[in-house]
Structures are given as C-alpha cells and as structure tokens.
C-alpha cells in the first residue's frame, strides 16, 4: 500500500535518512521504532508531503507522492496525528472533527449562501458522523467543549478522531502514547486496536516497546537514519543489532522530546 524506495533526506550536510526502504501492506499495523533522533518523524513528514525527499521515491497505492501538495496527499487517503499535539485549540471538539471532513463536504457556493437543502443535509450528516467518531474515541460527552480545555490524553484521542474524519485508508500515528500514564496508554491502545479492526491500515511510530510489540504485526527499526532491521515483533526482539542499538538500554526512557 505504502512503499518507500531508497529514500534519503539531508538537511544541508546532515544526513537524516539514508536509503530507507520498506513497505506497509494494506490491513497491517506497521511499527517504526528507533532511538530519539533516528529520523522517525522525518519519515512521516516526507510521506505527508510537508518536506520533499532528497532522493528516492515514495508511492501510495502505486502512485508516486513526490511533489504532491500535503492537502492532496490527505485527499488520497493518508491521515496523520502529530507527536506534539496540533488540535485546533480554540474550536470545539465537534468542529475539530468536522474540519477533518473538509474535502468530503461538497456543496456549491449558492447552496452555502442560501442554505439550500443539499447544504443543510451535508452539514447535518457531518455533525452526525463527527459525533460517531468522537464516541469511538470516548469523547462524545465533551463534543461542545473547547479542545484547549481537554487533558493531554484526550487531545491525543481527539487528534485520532480528527484524522479518521478525513476518511483515510492509511493512518499515520506519531508517538500516540508519548507522555501518557499507564492507564491512558492501555486505554488508547484499545482504541487503536478497535480502529485497526475496522480495516484501517495503521503505521505507528513509537518508543514504548510494550505498546509496539503488542500492537504491530510488522516492525522496522531505524537507527541513525538507516533501517537496521525489519520483521515480525519476535524477530525484532531477538535481533542482536536492535538489542544493541535500542532495546539493550533505556527502553523506558523519557519519550516526549523530539525524535
């Protein structure tokens, strides 16, 4: 479904990613792990079109994504959440989610200005769907509160609902449990499992090993901009390179800072 081929990215002289290749199959929960600064978030920024690769190709369902604007990539079916939460703070939870449906609301200027039935029906459907998505992540009771008033964990869940509102085929989650306590983590894990069961393909970046091992069917390990291992969770656990680079030390360390 998503294929990265020999992707490299350098910022000036700094090689952030070198010849990164991997494939995310449809229906999978795919994990990308690696120590802080390994270049994980850069991978997401490349996929979503926020930055362009220095070389290599990224393709989604067989079509290249290079040179496609971020909002067009979203419309092709890739949605993401952010490591540092980026909800629309001054908007209600409901509006946050409805913003995600932007590309799927299709009414004419006349319909909008005159409040024609087509416009009203679509807006009503959007609200119904937004309530559904919010209850899916357990936030429907707060639908009319401002996003700013929500706790850290709830804002992450809101981001998830907002990403789902774009009707993605592939969902990119950038450290979804960073900075959460154990209770919040297992709660969010249940939510993500539930989403995966609905047939979404999920690509998750994460530090928390237990979380990744429990969730993903396939894992790639990134270290200093290179993929050093890829395989099933059990294989990754046993891989000596991975143990040396990552698992052997500090796997429960503070995960808030930038990757």
């Amino acid at each position: 479904m998503l294929e990265l081929t020999q992707v490299s990215k350098h910022f000036g002289g700094v090689e952030v990613l070198q010849n990164v290749s991997f494939t995310v199959q449809a229906g999978q929960v795919f994990g990308l792990i690696g120590p802080n600064g390994a270049g994980k978030t850069t991978v997401f920024n490349l996929i979503t079109g926020l930055i362009a690769p220095s070389s290599g190709t990224i393709s989604f369902n067989g079509q290249p994504l290079t040179g496609v604007a971020p909002h067009q990539i979203t419309r092709r079916g890739i949605a993401r959440t952010f490591q540092n939460i980026r909800v629309f703070k001054e908007m209600s939870l409901l509006d946050n989610v409805i913003v995600g449906m932007h590309a799927h609301l299709d009414y004419s200027a006349a319909g909008l200005l005159l409040s024609l039935p087509g416009f009203r029906q679509q807006e009503r459907q959007a609200r119904v769907r937004a309530h559904e998505l919010l209850s899916m992540v357990g936030l429907d009771k707060n639908a009319y509160d401002l996003a700013d008033a929500m706790s850290y964990g709830d804002q992450r869940k809101l981001e998830l609902a907002r990403a789902l509102a774009t009707e993605p085929k592939l969902l990119l989650l950038d450290e979804p449990v960073a900075g959460m306590n154990t209770g919040e983590k297992s709660e969010l894990m249940r939510v993500i499992v539930r989403i995966a069961e609905r047939g979404y393909t999920i690509f998750v970046i994460e530090h928390d090993m237990r979380f990744v091992m429990g969730l993903c069917q396939r894992i790639a390990v990134l270290n200093f901009g290179r993929i050093i291992a890829e395989g099933k969770p059990e294989e990754i656990k046993r891989n000596p390179d991975v143990i040396e680079a990552y698992l052997g030390r500090d796997d429960e360390s503070e995960t808030v800072s930038a990757a």
């Binding site: 979503t48 926020l50 604007a69 971020p70 909002h71 979203t74 419309r75 949605a79 993401r80 952010f82 980026r86 909800v87 629309f88 703070k89 001054e90 908007m91 509006d95 409805i98 913003v99 995600g100 449906m101 932007h102 590309a103 609301l105 009414y107 909008l112 200005l113 005159l114 409040s115 416009f119 807006e123 401002l146 700013d148 008033a149 907002r162 509102a165 774009t166």
Partner: protein, 295 residues
C-alpha cells in the same frame, strides 16, 4: 418627524460613514480570520473608489456598473498580488502589503491624466443613498454569517490556528488564503466606491497608511470573534472623534493608545461572544465566578 429630519440633515454623513467604516472593518476581518495580517485594505479601498468614480465621471456608467467595477477591480488586483505575498506570514506579510499600499498611492499620485494626481478627483456625482450603504452592509453581513457556518469558515479558522494541521486535514491552505484576501479586497473596494459617491471628492492621501491603521483598529477593537465585532468597532472609532473634538490633533495618537489598551486588556475585542456567554452563565448562577477567563 421634524426632529429626525434635523438630525438627519446634520448627521447623515456621520451615520453613513459608520456604515462604510463597518464595511472596511469587515474587509480586513477576512484575512484576520485566516490569521493573516494583511494591511492592503486601504489601497483596495482606493482602487475601488477611483475605479468607481472614473466609471461614473469619465465613462458615464450607471451607479450599479460603477459599484460592480469598484468591487471587481480590487478583487482582481488582490488575486494577482495575493499569489506571491500570501506565502509570507506574520510581520513579513504586513510589510509586503504595506509596501503594495504605498505603490498604489504613488501610482494614483502620478497617473495625473486619469486620477488628477495630488489634487484628486473633484465633482463626483453624489449617488450614494443611505439605503445603498445599509443594503451593502446587510448583504455583506449575511454572506459572512453563511460563510462562518460552512466548511469555508471552518477552514479559515483552522488555518488561523495551525496551517500545517489544516493542510493535513485536506484543506487547500493557499486557495483559502487567496479567497479571504480577494473577498476582503472586494468589500474594501465596495466601501471605497460608496464613499467616493458620498463625499464628492477623493484624493490619494485618503488611502494611505493612516487609513490602513484605522481599518485595523476598528476590526481589532470590535473583535474578530463574532459578526457584530467589526460593526461595533466601526461605531466606536467613527463616533470617537465627534466626542473628542477638542483633541482632534491627537486623534491618531488616541487611536494608537486604544489599540494598545485593547490588545492588552481585551485581546479578543469588545464584542467577544464567548465572554458574553460566560457573563450570562455567571449572572444566571447569580454568584461570582473566580474561574472567569480561565476556562
């Protein structure tokens, strides 16, 4: 009825100025609501005023055609200059658009054959009736009200809060910024066209930096959170000089002080729907609320 006639004879110009200023305050609302500080609205007003005035005076066009021209010309210019400048953000956009404003002013000053240069255009037919201003204001407010409740209004708000996140929600950030900029320019042009056919005379000095600051002050003072904000702002800023006649030399200074005070103490302007809602809630509960403003 006689009382009203007297009042109208004396104050009709002032009342119509309030309406025109409200249109101007709304014109900058569009870009502000996308989180863009674009300062070109005085220039767009000028383009609209000169286009409309030249249409009625030199081309003998009807008032309707003149108004449409007054909207269309700045809108077209906005689309052209918006493409490069709206890629800038924050203070850089403000500088670029201020620069554009100066360019327009100097062009008007030097195109003497058409614009009369520094002497301005004299003898513009007084075609603007009170109901033209009222109808324009109502129509613009209606459009704004509809827009805010649609995907376009939500897109503006999302772009204001975080344009990267907005783009990743599938929103075409650049096209929405351009739309906001062009709509604002059209409305500023409409205000200019109405004003030109009200005041008999227009000159290039009216559309300079000071006017730009006035427009911004009205919008920020009134508040950009609700529809009534720009209207309230225009009301205050237009009436204030009347009450402060003895300080007229300090008018700009007083406007500046007001702007600073508002930003410091009422960052969301005089008309802030969420604050009004909070007041209502508190008075209904009938007891003081220490958490006011914290949420």
């Amino acid at each position: 009825m006689e009382g009203f006639d007297n009042f109208w004879a004396v104050y009709s110009n002032l009342v119509l100025s309030i309406g025109i200023n409200a249109l101007l305050a709304i014109s900058i609302w569009f870009t502000l609501s996308c989180g863009l500080l674009a300062m070109a609205n005085a220039a767009f007003m000028g383009i609209g005023a000169y286009t409309a005035a030249l249409l009625t005076m030199k081309a003998g066009a009807s008032f309707t055609v003149a108004l449409l021209g007054g909207i269309g010309a700045p809108l077209a210019v906005a689309l052209i200059i918006g493409m490069p400048t709206l890629r800038l953000s924050g203070v850089y956009l403000a500088m670029a658009t201020l620069g554009f404003g100066e360019v327009v002013r100097i062009l008007i000053l030097n195109a003497e054959r058409w614009t009369g240069g520094a002497l301005g255009l004299n003898g513009i037919p007084q075609l603007t009736q009170w109901w033209h201003v009222l109808a324009s204001l109502v129509a613009v407010l209606l459009v704004l009200w509809r827009l805010r409740r649609s995907r376009v209004g939500r897109a503006f708000e999302a772009i204001k809060e975080d344009d990267v996140a907005a783009a990743l929600m599938g929103i075409g950030v650049m096209s929405h910024k351009l739309l906001a900029f062009a709509l604002g320019a059209g409305i500023a042009g409409l205000a200019g066209a109405l004003n030109a056919h009200l005041t008999f005379f227009i000159g290039p000095a009216e559309y300079g930096f000071e006017r730009g600051i006035d427009i911004l002050t009205m919008a920020v003072l009134g508040g950009t959170g609700g529809l009534a904000g720009p209207v309230v702002g225009a009301l205050v800023i237009t009436l204030l000089p009347e009450f402060l006649r003895s300080f007229r030399n300090y008018r700009l200074m007083i406007n500046g002080v007001i702007l600073v005070l508002i930003v410091l103490f009422l960052p969301k302007g005089i008309w802030d729907p969420s604050r009004v809602r909070q007041w209502l809630k508190r008075s209904r509960r009938g007891m003081p609320d220490n958490t006011a403003g914290v949420r």
